[in-house]
Symmetry: C2
Subunit: 249 residues, 2 copies
DNA sequence: CGCTGCCTTGATCTTCTTCAAAACGTGTGG
DNA sequence: CCACACGTTTTGAAGAAGATCAAGGCAGCG
C-alpha cells in the first residue's frame, strides 16, 4: 500500500481530543507557572479545572463573549485572532501545550477582545477567572511566573507592531516563518517542518497582507531555495537567509 | 505684554523635573499597584526607589542596554520606542504618571528591547528588578495588579497589531488621535487638546506611516473640521467623526 | 529681521491590493 | 483504482494607496 499524499505533515485525529484523567494532573504539573507548586497544591488546583475537547476549526470562544474563564492548552494548537469591523481576520498568536489564553482580568471588563479557535484536534483545561485570581493571591510564585509570561508576550506583540509598521510584505512573511519555525518547527528530511496545516490565507492573516501577496512571496522564497512548500505545509531549508531578509536591509 | 505664541500647549519647565522628597511617598501611594499596601509597607518600598530627572528629549535607557531596573513615571511623559535595523523609529506607547516601564523579567534575559525617552521635563522613580520581584513575592496583591496592567497593555498592543494589519493610513492616524485624546486630552477652548508637543513625524511613528502622509491626513481632518492643529499641537473637535472613520468602513 | 526646523504640497514611482482565471492537490464516490 | 469535484494555490494585468523626492512656506526664537 503506497501513500499518495504529498504532505509531510502528521495526520491528526478527527475526534476532539480528550486528555485522560490521569494525564490532566501531569499536564498541570508541567505548565510553566504551576511548576513550583507542591503536589498537594497542584491537586487542589486540579480540581478547579474542567476539560474540553475541540475539533479542528472549532471555536473555543468568540470576540464579544462574556469573558469569565481562563484556558490552558493541554494538547493541540489554538489560534488567537481578531476580526476587523469589515470582517478581515488578523491572527495574533498560535498557542501550544502549556500556554494559557482567555480572561485574566477581574470580572467587570468582561468581554473577550479576540476569538480562540482550535487549529487541530485539541484539548484545553479551563478555570473560572475568579478562581485563578485566588490562586495568584495565594501563591505569589505563580503570580510572578504569570507576570513573566505576560512580559514575554507583550514583547512579542511589540515586535509584531514594529514589523507591521516598518517592513515590506516580503520581510513580514519571512518574519512570520521565522517565528513559526522557532515555535512549531520539527527537523525532518524536507527541512524544519512547521507542524501545522498552514494555508496562504493563514500566512496572510499573520503578516498583515493578502493571500495573493503571501503566495507570491512563498513562490519566490521557494525559487530562492529558502523554503520547501506545498498545499497547507511549509518547511524551512535556510533559516539564516530568512533572518537576514528581516534584519539586514 | 501680549503673547504672540500660537501654541495652546502649556509651556514646560526647562530644567529636569525633580520630585520633592515628601512628594515621592505620595506618588508611590497613588501608583495603581501599590494602592493596597499599608503605610508602613509603602515606607519600606519607598526606600528601595531612587529618583531621576530628565529634560525633554533625554534618553532614560537605550535598546540593548543592560536591563536591570524598573521605572515608574512620577511626573512628565515618557515615550517607549523601537528602532528598526534601518534606523526607522516606531513608537509603542506614551506613559504618564503612575505607569511603569523598563525591565520586569528576572536577570538573565537582560537587554531592553526598546528605548525610553522623556517627551517633556520628567521625573521617574526607579528600583532594581530583583528588588521589585521580591516585592511581588511578598505582596500578592501587587502581583495581581501588575498582571492586570500587563493584560491591559497586551490588549492595547494587539489592537495596534490589528490596526496596522488591516487599516488604511487615514484610519490609523484617526485611531492614534483617538487613543492620544483618551489618554492625554484636556478640555480647552480649542477642543480636546492633546497635552504633548506632537510633531507630524511623531504621529507617523505611531501610525506606521511617513511624515508626509501624516501631514496630508492631518490637513484633511482639519479641512473636514474634525481637528484643529498647528505646529506641534493637536486638538480634537469631533471625536465621534474620528471614531466612525476607524470603525465603520 | 533673518535663521532654523517644522509643515505643506505637488509630481513621480514603487509596492501592494484587487479582480480574474487557470492549474493543481486532496479526498470522495463510483 | 480511477475520475471527478472542491478548495487551495498560482499567475497575470490593472488599479489604488502610499512612499519617495523635491521645493517652497510658515512659526517660533534669537
Amino acid at each position: 500500500m503506497k501513500n499518495r499524499r504529498k504532505t509531510p505533515l502528521e495526520i491528526e485525529a478527527i475526534e476532539p481530543e480528550m486528555c485522560s484523567v490521569d494525564l490532566r494532573l501531569e499536564i498541570l504539573t508541567q505548565v510553566p507557572f504551576f511548576a513550583d507548586l507542591s503536589a498537594t497544591d497542584i491537586e487542589v488546583v486540579n480540581r478547579q479545572f474542567v476539560e474540553f475537547g475541540y475539533s479542528p476549526g472549532e471555536m473555543i470562544y468568540l470576540a464579544g463573549d462574556q469573558a469569565e474563564r481562563l484556558y490552558v492548552v493541554a494538547e493541540g494548537k489554538i489560534k488567537l485572532l481578531r476580526y476587523t469591523p469589515a470582517g478581515q481576520a488578523v491572527m495574533l498568536d498560535v498557542l501550544t501545550p502549556g500556554e494559557f489564553f482567555g480572561s485574566l482580568a477581574a470580572l467587570g471588563e468582561n468581554e473577550y477582545p479576540d476569538t480562540a479557535q482550535a487549529l487541530v484536534s485539541s484539548c484545553v483545561l479551563s478555570i473560572e477567572t475568579g478562581g485563578f485570581r485566588k490562586i495568584l493571591q495565594k501563591h505569589p510564585s505563580v503570580a510572578v511566573k504569570v507576570v513573566d509570561i505576560m512580559a514575554e508576550r507583550l514583547k512579542a506583540a511589540h515586535e509584531m507592531v514594529q514589523q507591521l509598521s516598518a517592513s515590506s510584505a516580503e520581510q513580514r512573511i519571512a518574519h512570520v516563518l521565522r517565528k513559526l519555525a522557532a515555535k512549531l518547527g520539527e527537523r525532518k528530511e524536507v527541512g524544519l517542518l512547521i507542524q501545522l496545516p498552514l494555508s496562504r490565507a493563514d500566512l496572510a492573516e499573520m503578516a498583515g497582507t493578502t493571500t495573493e501577496t503571501a503566495s507570491r512571496m512563498m513562490s519566490q522564497f521557494q525559487k530562492e531555495g529558502f523554503i520547501q512548500t506545498g498545499r497547507q505545509w511549509v518547511a524551512i531549508r535556510d533559516l539564516k537567509a530568512l533572518e537576514d531578509l528581516v534584519d539586514i536591509p
